[in-house]
Symmetry: C2
Subunit: 325 residues, 2 copies
């Protein structure tokens, strides 16, 4: 039997929290009597839609970028992202006085592209259905001498992303379960590391869109499996395979993965809009969709939810509510 050191520890998440103090927002934890009544439990929503750049991604990007050497920062940062990580790296670069080049799919939401450029980043596009974004970004980084900050597959990124769960638990105390969206797996890996580090008995529930169930399949197979690039409204979770590092954490710490349909996600987005008066993007609404549709069985009395982001423009929100994409 071999024991390997995990790529991220509770100490790493706590150190990330110190680095993020005064730079990332300490986002509010919202409650709703209506939601509690519907779910039949006390639900605590950690609202990362109110985070800088509108998503938890800033936590990981800034933590990783802040650990670069002065020489690396002088040369600049590169990243690939379907959206929120792009803005996160662009803002982290600006905060640290350097520049960013972002490799982004050409069909990324216009609002995400505009916001990324607004933070001063240069954008290089590729075709999400045919191109290999990692290869493109790595070539670019090598060519220009840039430090590549991946969206999840990096210990400092996972540690930074886990600070959302750390803050939530500091505020709520012990919870029976914590639900987070699972895309590449960085938010879950960091959150599970923080949560189980503090409260070993907490039940970690990941939520994926039905079409993007790569982590669920991988956990069942006991190894990373690949699925075709999924088409789902949850664009932040449209990935074909879990990260290697994130999966090594999540296979140890995740208790279950729950799947939700695109229509359940639409309904959850509408629910929080009309009842909680907050804007949540499709991927960010997947845990709420799981709760509201009764997809999670044997719920404990106190449940935490990471509401991971709120970057959806008004036109897309309208299309989604009308059943579109």
């Amino acid at each position: 039997m071999t024991t390997t050191t995990p790529p991220v520890t509770l100490d790493d998440v706590q150190e990330a929290a110190t680095r993020l103090k005064g730079v990332a927002h300490r986002t509010p934890v919202l409650r709703s009597r209506t939601l509690d009544a519907l779910v039949g439990a006390e639900v605590f929503l950690k609202c990362e839609n109110f985070q800088r750049v509108g998503a938890f991604k800033f936590r990981g990007a800034y933590n990783a970028a802040s650990r670069l050497t002065p020489e690396q920062l002088a040369r600049g940062i590169a990243a690939y992202s379907s959206g929120n990580h792009a803005q996160a790296v662009a803002l982290a670069a600006r905060e640290l006085g350097t520049t960013a080049v972002i490799v982004m799919p050409e069909d990324a939401p216009p609002s995400k592209r505009a916001a990324t450029e607004g933070y001063g980043a240069e954008i290089v596009t590729y075709d999400r259905y045919t191109g290999d974004r990692v290869a493109i970004a790595e070539a670019l980084a090598t060519e220009r001498g840039l430090a590549l900050i991946p969206p999840y597959e990096h210990p400092h990124v996972m540690a930074g992303q886990g600070t959302a769960a750390l803050e939530l638990l500091e505020e709520t105390g012990e919870l029976g379960a914590l639900l987070t969206p699972v895309g590449g797996g960085g938010l879950m890996a960091g959150s599970a590391t923080a949560a189980k580090g503090l409260h070993p008995d907490i039940r970690m529930v990941g939520v994926e869109p039905e079409a993007g169930d790569d982590t669920k399949r991988s956990l069942e197979a006991g190894r990373r499996v690949s699925i075709p690039v999924p088409k789902t409204i949850a664009d932040g979770q449209a990935l074909h395979t879990p990260g290697e590092l994130t999966f090594s954490v999540n296979r140890r710490l995740v208790d279950e993965i729950v799947l939700v349909s695109d229509d359940e996600i639409r309904e959850a987005m509408r629910f929080v809009f009309e009842r909680l008066k907050i804007v949540v993007e499709p991927s960010g609404a997947t845990p709420l969709a799981a709760l509201l549709s009764g997809r999670v069985s044997a719920l404990p009395d106190r449940i935490g939810v990471i509401v991971s982001g709120g970057n959806v423009d008004a036109e897309r929100f309208a299309r989604l509510c009308a059943g579109g994409v």
Copy 2:
């Protein structure tokens, strides 16, 4: 020269705040770097869209209802309202263990009607363009022996509504200006009483939709004037004349009224949706519309805004963003 006692004082607002403790939410005060940069000032948003029933109206309704005698409460409450006050009185009645009958226009948003019924209230409808809601409600109250709680024209309602400004100023300290929507004038009367009671130099700016400028015209005329029932997307401000009591306060305490167009309101709703990730109804967005469109001149460095409510359903939000009503 005669001196009349004002219908509402700072003491009244402070006493209302004590009654509301633990019943109304102490709503959050949000900030936005983007908003500050666009406006060129520090802007503090008192988010009454997160209040119970989704609007500041609960503060006034509960304060007034809580002062009824046990005999009055045993008989029940009546109210007339274009929407949010209806839900507010319905919930206040339920919280105080009594029943409510609400006179509501037949074209009120379905979500507001459903929410009011959801709190257990009985609804009686009328035609907003031909009927006299006050007369209908008064007849009903007399007939059934109910206590009528008006939406603004009552000292306890104004005092309760003013607690939003009181809480905001407790949190921010002195502000150069405070912007609130003006409909019947109760929120402004209570807010101005609280704000000028604490900080006599604060500039009180009311905001009305262009089509519903009855308070602006009345202040200019030095007496209450009537306009045709306005058609505007700001349904909470579609009134033809200011209240008598509220106007007696506002003519003393309001420094200026600013008007905004329906398109400026739509743009403000979209702005807070996409950048702040919060849902604000048309009337609630009028002060933000005034700030974002540059309608307020000589802005001070620190500005408070009462974001009065967030009751707009997803379909209407989509229609509004597309330029509709």
